[in-house]
């Protein structure tokens, strides 16, 4: 059934939103860890070329391509805290450059985008069920 194509592409969108949620959750969880070992994470995916050979071969809809969680390269946030065991010679402690406000905004955005994917899938599903009702009202 060709509704399966919508199912697949919506599921791929949900996969990507889940990956973004994982990256954001890791950022928030590690926001207060000292040291430069943790870099703020971002989930990125490239958009597929709408006319690429693979898509033509599979007759599929374009979907997020090569989604991956990658560390960013922002400079650490330096906080003056001379009593901290990780403080450097000048008394500064390095924290990952995570901004709780923008992470919260991203969380809301992820939730809404996931919801939109679910809605598109649900619409494909109810259209298919409606199509199967054709001719059966008696």
């Amino acid at each position: 059934m060709d509704f399966a194509a919508v199912f697949d592409v919506s599921a791929a969108g949900m996969d990507f939103e889940r990956m973004r949620l994982e990256a954001t959750a890791a950022n928030l969880a590690n926001a207060q860890t000292s040291g430069t070992a943790f870099q703020p994470l971002r989930a990125i995916a490239a958009s597929a070329l709408p006319d690429s050979f693979d898509l033509r071969l599979a007759a599929a809809l374009p979907r997020p391509l090569g989604a991956a969680i990658v560390p960013g390269n922002a400079a650490p946030r330096m906080v003056l805290d001379p009593g901290h065991p990780d403080a450097d010679s000048r008394g500064f402690v390095a924290y990952p450059d995570v901004s709780p406000v923008s992470e919260m905004v991203r969380l809301v955005e992820i939730g809404r985008a996931y919801e939109a994917n679910v809605r598109a899938l649900g619409m494909a599903r109810s259209m298919a069920l409606k199509a199967l009702e054709i001719g059966s009202e008696r």
């Binding site: 059934m1 199912f7 599921a11 949900m14 996969d15 899938l121 599903r125 069920l129 199967l132």
Partner: protein, 96 residues
């Protein structure tokens, strides 16, 4: 602006003689194939539910999508079967 009349040779009615059974399999083969697909879908949905139940890392939405796919496929086969039975009943009730 001059608009020419429609050339009657271009709008020749398609002949009814071309309405033969399409090549590549009969209806029963199609139905069998659909029943097989339905069975595969249901089994794979069942498997992913099982994986979810035993706590393996399965994407929740993938499980739901698979369940929905299986349900739609089953619904399609059921509707085709209903139509087939209706037609059969109609033929059976026909007075000769």
């Amino acid at each position: 602006m001059n608009i020419p009349a429609i050339d009657p040779a271009l709008v020749a009615a398609p002949s009814l003689g071309s309405m033969t059974e399409s090549a590549g399999g009969s209806f029963s083969a199609w139905l069998e194939q659909q029943v097989r697909t339905t069975n595969t879908d249901i089994v794979s949905a069942d498997n992913s539910v099982r994986h979810l139940a035993v706590g393996e890392p399965v994407n929740l939405h993938q499980v739901m999508v698979q369940l929905e796919r299986a349900r739609l496929q089953l619904e399609l086969v059921v509707q085709v079967r209903n139509k087939l039975l209706d037609a059969y009943q109609d033929l059976l009730k026909m007075q000769i």
